[in-house]
């Protein structure tokens, strides 16, 4: 397991925000918290008064506008996670990245007594006021998960690790999290070496059956650079007979959805290369908008050489 996404879900008044901040700093992961999301959304066209709609604790109703803003935010968070390791604070990260192979989900909890004490100090409230605030904040976060993801915030099976802050301070929690991730890395890689490390998976998480070893090697190279790919995802019809039966078709080896690019590897004999060249010429004539690149045997050799593999 190669952890690139850490989500931190927290009960109100448990210092979960501090844990996420310290964790991101120590691991040098990008921290996606309220201020980061606000900046991001302002750059993506939202106005200042619309930002509150994005927060789990917002009292605003879940109308279509709010749902649309949240969908946009979620899309941008998913894109950020493609580009960089992240620590995501709240925002339903445990659902947004549920079953993601590189995600590690943390839940921070505490006893109601300790949380009341912390909130009384932080917000200068009496006991009744603190209890009321905690109850309301937890209720809204619960509602957010339910309305956005149809999920249950209190489902403990969502989390890789749950920490009770009655027993740990922020520094201790961060140490425990980083240690747990290391243990998860070791145990998972030892347990499922073949599935997770040796065999590349496509953008849908499927393990394709590669026709040639060079294709599998190329898929690993794309995985290394975190480029999403699909293997033989589309067949283009190149010719039909008078009765409409397909007489010629071409299926490129790879499709890179983020670049809208098809790639064909040809590491075979020259005769086959000529055959493929003809097909690609025909493909370009019939589908001029398709972006396709051929990687020839010599190109592929140069790529391997560049990485010192030959």
């Amino acid at each position: 397991m190669d952890v690139k996404i850490i989500t931190v879900s927290r009960e109100f008044g448990c210092r979960g925000t501090e844990v996420a901040e310290k964790l991101a700093k120590e691991l040098k992961f990008l921290l996606i918290n309220k201020s980061y999301i606000n900046d991001l959304m302002l750059k993506n066209g939202l106005e200042e008064d619309q930002l509150e709609s994005l927060e789990e604790s917002s009292p605003r109703p879940f109308n279509e506008t709010r749902k649309r803003y949240i969908e946009l935010m979620n899309k941008l968070i998913l894109e950020l996670a493609e580009a960089s390791p992240i620590v995501l604070l709240g925002r339903g990260g445990q659902y947004l990245f549920k079953n993601h192979p590189s995600a590690f989900h943390i839940k921070i909890i505490g006893s109601i007594e300790e949380r009341v004490r912390a909130v009384m100090t932080q917000y200068k409230l009496d006991r009744v006021g603190a209890l009321k605030l905690i109850t309301e904040q937890d209720r809204r976060r619960d509602l957010y998960i339910n309305r956005v993801f149809g999920g249950d915030w209190n489902d403990l099976s969502l989390y890789s690790l749950t920490i009770n802050m009655d027993y740990f301070d922020v520094t201790g929690s961060v140490k425990m999290i980083t240690r747990s991730i290391k243990l998860a890395n070791r145990d998972n890689s030892a347990f499922s070496d073949v599935q997770t490390l040796e065999t590349p998976k496509d953008a849908t998480g499927s393990i394709p059956h590669f026709a040639h070893s060079s294709e599998e090697e190329f898929a690993k190279l794309l995985d290394f650079y975190r480029i999403r790919w699909l293997y033989e995802s589309k067949t283009f019809i190149l010719g039909c007979d008078s009765e409409g039966n397909i007489t010629s078709a071409f299926t490129p080896d790879f499709y890179l959805p983020d670049y809208d690019l098809y790639i064909e590897l040809t590491t075979q004999k020259q005769r086959l290369v000529n055959y493929k060249n003809r097909k690609i010429r025909r493909l370009r004539e019939l589908y001029p908008d398709i972006n396709i690149k051929m990687i020839y045997g010599r190109d592929y050799k140069n790529i391997l050489r560049k990485f010192g593999l030959i």
Partner: protein, 169 residues
């Protein structure tokens, strides 16, 4: 392996001076962050900065290199020391070929909220491109050959050559 001269040192230095002038004009009244991608771009970056007539901040980045099946995913092994949030940023590479490394770097740096990111490379090898990456400043366009020298290596050798050479079998 034998070496063949591709770009002599005089041409390299003259072209770098031109690039320095152009960047200085384009970034007049600005103070860009120059991000040198280690190790290959170190020589180029140093010489380029000597021809800049604008203030700038120099920083370095380094990434893990693909080394075969068990490489996992790319990792930043040396991150920037400064924050590029709301800064003009110029990424300096020795060579842009497949675009895979640069594509990852651009995706990563864009998440940090810079005003702009441009790419400056000494060598551009477009025929080897897999993913399209915009190159804003380029020294030389080269054919599909394996080059060493002036920072570029083959298994850590040849970096200190003053000229750019083609390495042939």
């Amino acid at each position: 392996m034998r070496e063949r001269l591709l770009i002599p040192r005089e041409d390299i230095l003259r072209r770098i001076e031109e690039l320095g002038d152009k960047i200085s004009r384009d970034y007049m009244d600005k103070e860009p962050v120059l991000v040198c991608i280690l190790k290959g771009a170190a020589y180029f970056t140093v010489d380029l900065t000597r021809h800049l007539k604008i203030p700038f901040i120099l920083d370095f980045m380094s990434m893990s290199k693909y080394s075969g099946s068990d490489s996992g995913v790319v990792r930043i092994t040396k991150d920037l020391d400064i924050d590029i949030y709301e800064r003009d940023t110029i990424l300096i590479e020795d060579i842009v070929d497949t675009g895979l490394t640069l594509g990852y770097l651009l995706r990563n740096l864009r998440t940090r909220g810079p005003i702009s990111i441009k790419v400056c490379t000494l060598l551009d090898c477009p025929v080897r491109r897999i993913v399209d990456i915009p190159v804003d400043y380029k020294g030389f366009e080269i054919p599909d050959v394996y080059v060493v020298g002036y920072g570029l290596d083959y298994r850590e050798r040849y970096r200190n050559l003053l000229d750019i050479m083609v390495l042939e079998e």
